[in-house]
């Protein structure tokens, strides 16, 4: 995975822009951006599986939702839990679920894999939805957000939206860097090899199953971080966090952004959420906002038809158009 210097510079510029954003943004803007950052973490976790390992998982929302529910369930009712144990506990729960799902699902391949992961996430959905663990359709509340403190000194106040925004930004950046490092390691190269040709990797002496399972568990854990943040942000969880609609939306994000690049996942998360927001806002589209799905659907269709490599391929496409370079379109 070679990254051009321009991409690095642009990524750092985007990060700087995001860091400066709360200085100019409204409350609504900060809330929206925080939500998008959390979705970006979810999209990154899925990108590790789909874009890097070639395993199309259609149950990513289950890891997200389970960690969110664990966050609420593990917290004391009227007291703040310390983030130092609550976050690891929530992430461990979703990672453990990912271990079980992965260990079983990896027996299957291709579309069957997609459907088995969907089946397990639907099972989780119904367990949360129909048993006392989940508190039913209405969901459950987290009364006190976790504390981030060393001894008596509080470091961050998670109930303050702009402080929470920076926590989310740090978490997203952290996950991005972690994944970038993982993908450059020997382990990451093996995953790329499995994506391109699993048989060959096995013939070369790599036991592919443990590699894929490890990727699955890492992905579940990172989705768990997103779930933890989501539950803490709103102080509220409901079964829809585990629904296949969210799994589907995460897939749409990474495909829209451009598969095979970590940046694509982040770009896709921003693009999809902002498009949704754009078509829902009455200031921009007027009465059409009632039918915002139409605009969103049409833009997704246009993206697929016009951008074979996702949004991340847009600059190259433009360059090819402007310069007319003969080879610019080649992969």
């Amino acid at each position: 995975m070679e990254v051009s210097r321009a991409a690095v510079v642009l990524s750092l510029a985007a990060l700087a822009g995001l860091a400066a954003y709360p200085l100019v943004a409204s409350d609504f803007g900060i809330d929206l951006a925080t939500k998008i950052l959390i979705y970006a973490i979810l999209a990154l976790s899925l990108e590790l599986l789909v874009g890097q390992t070639g395993l199309v998982c259609f149950g990513q929302a289950a890891f997200f939702g389970i960690a969110a529910y664990a966050t609420v369930r593990f917290s004391p009712e009227y007291d703040a839990a310390a983030i130092w144990w609550l976050l690891p506990a929530a992430v461990a729960t979703s990672a453990a679920f990912a271990l079980v799902v992965g260990a079983l699902s990896l027996r299957t391949r291709g579309v069957y894999f997609i459907m088995v992961t969907l089946a397990f996430s639907q099972m989780a959905y119904y367990v949360i939805h129909d048993t006392p663990i989940g508190g039913g359709t209405d969901g459950i509340y987290l009364n006190v957000p976790p504390s981030v403190a060393i001894g008596p000194v509080s470091l961050v106040d998670l109930s303050d939206p702009s402080q929470f925004y920076y926590v989310a930004l740090a978490a997203m950046t952290g996950c991005f860097v972690l994944l970038a490092v993982v993908l450059r390691s020997r382990f990451g190269r093996a995953l790329a090899g499995i994506r391109v040709n699993e048989q060959r990797m096995r013939a070369a002496g790599f036991p592919t199953y443990p590699y894929q399972l490890a990727a699955f568990v890492i992905s579940g854990a990172i989705a768990g971080i997103a779930g933890f943040l989501f539950a803490t942000k709103d102080g509220f969880v409901n079964p829809e966090l585990l629904s296949w609609h969210l799994s589907g939306a995460a897939l749409v994000m990474i495909i829209l952004g451009g598969l095979g690049h970590l940046r694509g996942a982040v770009i896709g998360a921003f693009a999809l959420s902002l498009l949704e927001e754009l078509f829902q806002s009455r200031e921009f589209v007027g009465g059409f906002a009632d039918h915002w799905h139409l605009g969103l659907g049409a833009s997704i269709i246009a993206c697929v038809a016009l951008l074979p490599r996702g949004l991340i391929g847009l600059p190259r496409l433009l360059r090819a158009r402007l310069v007319g370079a003969r080879h610019a379109g080649a992969p």
Partner: protein
């Protein structure tokens, strides 16, 4: 559960299963032959149901026909629509990654749903069955069974037989089976794979729309009906083995039975049973019950 109730539930499960088969067969065809994971398939089912509701007055006025004229009209419309959709949205996607097609069909779901909302609104509608099918057959002293449900099962069985005939006995069926095994080889034998794909897609759309149309009097017509049927049809397709119509039939009957009896015997766990069944079957047979062929 006494005998009459059991019998009624059996009939219900067979009827539901056959209806699922009708939707799932189109899905498995498109899936197995073209390699397209068509998330918009449920939308075609929804559109079919809305056609049964919306076309009936139009057809009655213009040709004076009843239920069957509406069905025929709807089928023609959906074949044409399927043909055009394949040309407009799918014909250039086959060389790309599968996931691009998934994204495309996801966009189509949103567009179809919203167009439906703009054109007919978001209300729930009932569609009356034709008069001569509106009665019921008495079963025992207290129970009776609506004739229209038997009619649904009958139509589905006829179509299943028809599809079996087309697949195993005709040249077109041979080409389709060959196409699902090796696309390039079929092309190199001089068969226009593009037209074949377009026809298969149109047929798949028509099957889903037909299922929606004949299901409308039983299930009523409501906005979320497409999504509901989509996931369960994917379950059917995958359990049966992708591309296998025979597998889809057996899987649909199995799912129909599990879902119907699940709702009666274990109401609290009815939703999850289907998925437990799918996970169990795929862990036992990782490529479905029947391989395509």
């Amino acid at each position: 559960m006494d005998l009459a109730t059991f019998l009624v539930q059996c009939l219900n499960s067979v009827q539901f299963g056959l209806l699922l088969f009708l939707v799932a067969s189109g899905l498995t065809l498109i899936f197995g032959i073209m390699g397209v994971i068509n998330l918009a398939h449920g939308s075609f089912y929804m559109i079919g149901a809305y056609m049964a509701y919306g076309l009936a007055p139009v057809v009655a006025e213009s040709v004076g026909g009843g239920f069957f004229a509406t069905l025929a009209f709807g089928i023609v419309l959906s074949v044409v629509a399927g043909y055009l959709l394949e040309w407009a949205f799918f014909s250039y996607l086959y060389e790309r990654e599968h996931l691009q097609q998934v994204l495309m069909t996801y966009g189509l779901i949103l567009v179809f749903d919203e167009l439906r909302s703009i054109i007919v609104g978001d209300d729930v509608h009932g569609v009356p069955p034709p008069d001569w099918l509106a009665g019921s057959i008495p079963l025992g002293d207290l129970m009776s069974y609506p004739v229209y449900r038997l009619f649904i099962s009958g139509v589905c069985i006829l179509l299943a037989i028809g599809m079996y005939f087309v697949f195993t006995r005709t040249r077109l069926g041979m080409m389709i089976r060959a196409g699902s095994t090796n696309r390039e080889m079929v092309q190199s034998l001089g068969i226009d794979i593009k037209i074949l794909y377009r026809l298969v897609f149109a047929a798949g759309v028509a099957l889903a729309a037909l299922a929606g149309m004949i299901a409308a009097p039983v299930s009523s017509v409501y906005p979320g009906m497409g999504e509901q049927v989509l996931i369960i049809c994917f379950v059917v397709v995958v359990i049966g083995g992708i591309g296998s119509v025979r597998g889809a039939l057996l899987a649909a009957l199995l799912i129909g039975a599990v879902d119907t009896f699940g709702k009666v015997l274990l109401p609290s766990a009815a939703g999850v049973l289907v998925y437990v069944l799918m996970a169990a079957i795929l862990l036992w047979k990782p490529a479905g019950l029947f391989r395509a062929g």
